[in-house]
Amino acid sequence: MGKYIFKRLLSLIPVLIGVSLIVFFLVRMIPGSALQMYMGTQVEATPEQMEELKRLFGEDKPIPILYIEWVGNLLHGDFGYSLRTGRPVLPDILNRLPISLELTLYSLILALLIGIPLGVLSSLHQNTFGDFLNRVVGLIGLSLPQFWLAALMVIAFSNSSGWIPMGNYISFFEAPLKNLKMFFLPSLAIGFGFAAVVMRYTRNSMLEVLQMDYIRTAKAKGLRYRNVIIIHALKNAILPVITVTGFNAGYLLGGSIVIEEVFALPGMGRLALYAINQRDYPVIQAIVLVIATLFVVVNLVTDLIYALADPRIRLIEEKR
C-alpha cells in the first residue's frame, strides 16, 4: 500500500504543474495588464514611478521567468496581493475556505445519507411503484438547478428563524447546533442533485451484485436477510459509489460558489464572484488555483480509499 500511495502522490506533480500553467496563462490572456487596470485613467505617474510600479507588479520580465517566480512565491505561501485592497490574498482565502469546505462536506454527507438507503431500497423492490417513483424523483433531482432550489428554499423558509443564514454567519466552533441548522438548507440545495446520482449508482450496482452466486449462497446458508444485504451485498456494491463520490466532490465544491451567493454565506465562492465583479485578478487566480488543487487532492484520496476498499486494484497497481 505504501508503494501505491507514493506512486499516486508522485503523479500529482505533473497535474498540479499543468493546472498552475493553465491558471497563469489564462489570466495573462486578459486584455490590458494588471498595472493598467490598477492605474485606471485618473492616475498619472512619472516614467521613474512607472518603472517602479512595473517592477512591483512584476511586469518587467519575460513571461516564463514570471511564471517560475510566481510558482516559487506560491510554494512560499505568497499568493499575491489584491488589486483592490492591497492585502495579501492567501489569508482572505483561508478565512473563507472553512465555510466552503463545510458546505461541501455537509452536502456530501447529506447526499450519501439520502442516496444510499434509497438506492438499496429501490434495488430490493425493483420494478415496483416505489422503485419507479424513486427513479423519477431521482431524474428530477438531476435536472434541478441548485441555485433555483436554493431560491425556492429561501422563499419557503424565510419566516422560520435560524434556517436561512442571510448575513449572520455563525461558525461551527461558536455554536455547533446553530451552525448545522443554518448550513442545512444550503447543503441540501447543493447535495440534492448528487443524492440522485448516488441513488442511481447504488441501485444499479446493488442490482448487479444481488445477482451474484455468493449472495445466493449466503441466503441459502440461512444468514439473516439484513446481514446479507448490508454486509455481503452493499459492501461490494458501494465501490462504484465511492468513485462517483470522489469525482463529484469537486462538483459540489463548484456548486457551493453559487449557493453561497444565494444564501449570502461569506465563503470562497462569494469572494470569487466579488473579485470577478471588481476585476481583481490576483484574487480570482488564487481562488481557482486553490479549488483546483483541492479537487485534484480529493480525487487522489478517492483513489486511495478505492484501493483500500478493493484489494484487487492495489495489487494491479503495485505490480505495474
Partner: protein, 278 residues
C-alpha cells in the same frame, strides 16, 4: 411497419416529447409572443399570474410579461446548449480519436492536456473562463464548450482503443487502407453509440451551466431574456413575487429533464451491459 427501437423505450419517448414541446415553443416565439418580451410597463409591475390581464405567468419588476420572456429564452437556451455541445464534441472527439488511434506519445500529450482541464470542477472552469473573456453570449458558448472538451476526448479515446485491435480494422489495413480512411469509414461509425448518449447529457448540463452563469451575472446580459438572468433579477423581488422565480426555474427543470430522460433511454438502448441491469 416496425416501430423504431427508440420509440419503444418509454423513458426516451417521454424525454423526446418534452424536448419537441420546447422546440415547438422556440419556433413559435419567432413569429408570435403574447407580449413584447422587452417592453417595460410601469403600470403592470409585478402583476401576479392571471388570465384576465393576459399575463398568464405574471410580470416582472419592470412590468415585462414573464411568459413571453420565457418563450424568448427558449431559443437562447437551445442555441447556447447546442453550439457549446457541438464545439466541445467536435474538438474533444477529434482529440480523443487521434489520441486513441495513434497511441504512444501523441496519446500521452493529448490526454495529459485533457486530464489537466479535467482537474477543474466544470462550473468553476466556466466561471473562470467567463471572468477572463468577459460577459458575452459567445463567450458562454466558448466557456461551456471548453469544459466539454476533456469529457468527449476521454469517451472517444476509450471507445477507439477498445475497437482498434479488432479484426476488421486489421483487415482494412492489410487491404491498404490509409489511416484517415480507416478512421472515417471504420472507427468513427462504430463509436457513435457512447457519443450520442454523451451529447444528450451534455445538452442538459449546458442548459444548467448557462443558467448558473447567467444567474451569477456572467452569462447572457440583460435586457436579453435568458432563464438564468430572469432568475437572477427575480432574487430581489421573489420574497413577495414568487412567480418571478418559479416559472423560469420550471422552464429549466423540464427541458433539462427532457434531455436527461432521452439520455437515460438512449443509454439503456445502446449500452448492452446495462440492458439486463434495469
Amino acid at each position: 411497419m416496425k416501430t423504431p427501437r427508440l420509440l419503444r423505450n418509454g423513458i426516451a419517448v417521454a424525454g423526446l416529447v418534452l424536448i419537441l414541446l420546447y422546440v415547438f415553443i422556440s419556433v413559435i416565439s419567432f413569429f408570435w409572443l403574447p407580449f413584447d418580451p422587452l417592453a417595460m410597463d410601469a403600470k403592470q409591475i409585478l402583476q401576479s399570474p392571471s388570465f384576465s390581464t393576459g399575463h398568464v405567468f405574471g410580470t416582472d419588476e419592470f412590468g415585462r410579461d414573464i411568459l413571453s420572456r420565457i418563450m424568448k429564452g427558449t431559443s437562447v437556451s437551445f442555441i447556447i446548449s447546442i453550439s457549446a455541445t457541438s464545439l466541445g464534441a467536435v474538438i474533444g472527439i477529434f482529440m480523443g480519436v487521434w489520441a486513441g488511434y495513434l497511441g504512444g506519445k501523441a496519446d500521452n500529450i493529448i490526454m495529459r492536456f485533457a486530464d489537466i482541464l479535467f482537474s477543474f470542477p466544470s462550473l468553476l472552469l466556466a466561471i473562470f473562463i467567463m471572468a477572463i473573456l468577459g460577459e458575452h453570449t459567445y463567450n458562454v458558448v466558448l466557456a461551456i464548450g471548453i469544459v466539454y472538451i476533456p469529457q468527449f476526448a476521454r469517451i472517444s479515446r476509450g471507445a477507439i482503443i477498445a475497437l482498434k485491435g479488432n479484426e476488421f480494422i486489421r483487415a482494412a489495413k492489410s487491404n491498404g487502407a490509409g489511416r484517415s480512411y480507416i478512421l472515417v469509414h471504420h472507427l468513427l461509425p462504430n463509436i457513435t453509440a457512447p457519443l450520442i448518449v454523451q451529447i444528450s447529457l451534455s445538452l442538459s448540463t449546458a442548459i444548467l451551466l448557462e443558467s448558473a452563469l447567467s444567474f451569477l451575472g456572467l452569462g447572457v446580459q440583460p435586457p436579453n431574456p435568458s432563464w438564468g438572468n430572469m432568475l437572477s433579477s427575480a432574487r430581489k423581488v421573489m420574497m413577495f413575487a414568487p412567480w418571478t422565480a418559479v416559472y423560469p426555474g420550471l422552464a429549466i427543470v423540464l427541458l433539462v429533464l427532457g434531455f436527461n430522460l432521452l439520455g437515460d433511454g438512449l443509454r439503456d438502448m445502446l449500452d448492452p451491459r446495462l440492458r439486463n441491469v434495469r
